[in-house]
Amino acid sequence: MMQAWKDSFYIALRDRLAARNPERTVRVGGEERPAIVVAENELVAAASPLLECFHLNWKQAAPVARLADEPAPLLQLVCSISYATEGSDELNAQDRGRVLAAMDAELLDICRPGRTEVEDFSSLEGPPFAPGQTLFWSLPVFGEIQHDGRRASRTATVELFAFSERSAG
């Protein structure tokens, strides 16, 4: 079930990014797609992370303490979203702060509203199965900008919540 939450979150953000800024695309494996990737779903190569692309990294998952004893406990997942830029050659990278600010704004926009229907994408055939759950999340908390030479990067954190299904029996 947790996989369905992760997939649903990614798909929601991907579709919102495509609508918010259709120009923000990235080429992966010869295929052009919205510039947002789930790190754990991508091929493992030595190449450095893609620039001007949102990278979703899944972190800890745990029941919310006060609701852990409920029949369907509320679970919390943490997702860190990293992105970086080296600015443009035309402006000799002096616009890297502006590019990063634009990405901050896009991330804030695509995270609102902070909810989506959970869909199970695990079957390659047919439409995704919707178990009738809602996944909801907090607004992103933006970390400090990191500067590494020409590269400026930032990591934001989003907390997601959903009720786990009752176990059978």
């Binding site: 991907r14 789930v38 779903n41 030595a46």
Partner: protein, 139 residues
């Protein structure tokens, strides 16, 4: 009157490229396969990690393999020496940037049937010509 460009550095660079490949042969060069993903439109299934692209294994020889595994380490680390001339012959790769893309986009290197991940790639150049690539790979 125009002055002819000095061909000396170019000749030395080309000589270094040929010498590197010959040296690797002499040192008993073996062969490796570099595994590359093929461009393929996998769509949503690829984005969700439900499908993987087809791959191509590119044979490179001669290659010299040096064992860098630290004592008591369970993780095998190797250094692979590949001549720039080999890359030019096998894949028509001449520029350093193209060579780095080639190795950095690889899913791994197969040596004696084992898949190793590429950790880093260093380039040795002479007179502006790359003549040797040093790959550090690990299990």
């Amino acid at each position: 009157m125009t002055t002819a460009p000095n061909a000396e550095p170019i000749n030395r660079g080309l000589a270094a490229q040929r010498a590197a490949e010959t040296l690797l042969h002499t040192l008993g060069g073996t062969s490796i396969y570099v595994r590359l993903p093929l461009d393929s439109a996998l769509g949503e299934a690829g984005e969700l990690g439900l499908a993987s692209p087809a791959t191509e294994d590119v044979l490179l020889a001669p290659v010299v393999v040096r064992n860098l595994t630290a004592p008591k380490s369970v993780r095998v680390q190797l250094e692979l020496l590949v001549a720039a001339a080999t890359l030019a012959r096998v894949r028509e790769i001449y520029a350093v940037g193209d060579a780095l893309d080639f190795f950095n986009n690889a899913l791994g290197v197969i040596q004696r049937g084992k898949l190793f991940r590429v950790d880093s790639v260093d380039v040795d150049e002479f007179s502006g010509f790359p003549y040797l690539y040093r790959l550090k790979v690990s299990e």
